[in-house]
């Protein structure tokens, strides 16, 4: 048997995330699928100059109270801490409430680079990297700011942009259950960006509600096969 992938704590699982690493963070919006405990552990660990790849930039715990009663934790804490030098995602900051997020403030101050990517293109760029491909042509973004600096090409009478693969040193993701090998299943819409990010990182770290024995997960229903998963932390909810 090979080495166990089970880590005792989120702190232990993120301990070697290095300065200037690229880090994918799963989830989608404010809830459901965010690897909250791994995010907090990375905030405590303190790695800096990170490139953060996530659907949303988050708002941080303080501002989150203006959105939902009781507030919630998201990737915003990493911007608050000044740990991020570049963000790549589809919603760096919300246009409406809250008035500004830590990401927005840093961006205005010139302390953060932001690459805004249409959400489907973000997902596809990650899958492109995961599949060992060099790029793809998408019709999304043609005639918009997204097209700036990109090769455009007409194929069968339709215009497309060339988009490039996106991979990361680490992926922090959230799943529902893992078996001890690392096979993963998700729960409802908490699936979202987690499975695709799991496949495109050199080291994939997953926070799960529970670990089950090998053989317990239906092989037809495994969403992320274990070879994509390197570290598992159980955080019962």
């Amino acid at each position: 048997m090979s080495k166990s992938k089970i880590f005792k704590s989120c702190a232990e699982a993120v301990a070697d995330i290095f300065d200037e690493a690229s880090v994918m963070v799963g989830g989608f919006g404010s809830f459901g699928g965010l690897p909250i405990n791994l995010i907090v552990a990375l905030a405590e660990q303190g790695a800096r100059d990170l490139t953060l790849i996530a659907n949303m930039g988050g708002v941080g715990f303080e501002l989150s109270h203006r959105i939902k009663p009781g507030g919630y934790q998201d990737a915003g804490i990493l911007f608050e801490n000044g740990q991020v030098k570049k963000f790549i995602g589809s919603v760096p900051a919300l246009g409406g409430m809250p008035p500004t997020s830590p990401l927005e403030r840093l961006h205005r101050e010139g302390k953060l680079e932001v690459e805004t990517v249409p959400q489907g293109t973000l997902a596809e760029r990650i899958r492109c990297a995961a599949g060992g491909l060099g790029g793809f042509y998408t019709p999304v973004g043609v005639g918009t700011v997204v097209a700036e600096g990109k090769e455009s090409r007409v194929i069968d009478g339709r215009e497309y942009l060339l988009e490039r693969p996106l991979r990361a040193d680490f992926a922090l993701i959230k799943a529902h259950k893992a078996d001890r090998l690392g096979n993963l299943v998700y729960r409802q819409t908490a699936r979202c960006f987690n499975p695709v990010m799991a496949t495109a990182a050199a080291v994939t770290i997953v926070e799960v509600d529970g670990v089950v024995p090998v053989g317990k997960l239906d092989p037809e229903a495994v969403v992320t096969p274990h070879i994509y998963v390197h570290r598992i932390v159980e955080v019962p909810r």
Binding site: S30, F31, G32, A93, R108, V142, Y186
Partner: protein, 220 residues
Amino acid sequence: MKERLDEPTIALRAAREFADGSVVNLGYGMPGLCANLIPEGRTVYFQSENGMLGFGGLAADEEKDYELINASDQPVRPLPGMSFFDSAQSFDMIRGGHIDTVVLGAYQVSEKGDLANWGRPGRPATGMGGGMDLAVGAKRTIVTMLHTTREGGPRIVKECTYPLTARGCVSLIITDIAVIEVTGEGLLLREVAPGWTVPEVQALTEARLTPAADLKEIEL
């Protein structure tokens, strides 16, 4: 001042566009109100870009599950026959032309159907989310929005001045005073809100409107 339709009424009018058996995606904000306004007797399969198909309306407080949410972070109700998938598969569905109708909000729509719905001047770090993918991929894009800006300026314009979402993607615009179809020959004014005249609507619209031969009042 003349009375304008409120947001739930605009959403109600939009929901009447959903064909029986069609696949519908609802954007952030006002479009989301369509979720609980499907016309009696029609089945609509909602798709949400976070990876879900065939869910129900918005959940009541006591049934909220924050791992069962639409792309606007709102808990929804499960339905038999629904399915979950990841973001990459979700956008295959969207770009692949399997969404019959998407309803999106907008800052501006041009007379050619160009859509600007994500970026505002002075907020450089906002993002387009899945709006570009939906506008490009859906078979039909319906925009629901207020006809004018907070300051009373037009939102239906000759050329968008806000950052574009996609060119020529809008099929139908439903506002608080009118229903306007985007055609190859420009904007066709199909319906006006009760009490509104064509010149009154045109006065609040930068782009030129052509009244439809069968122009009527919005039926609600």
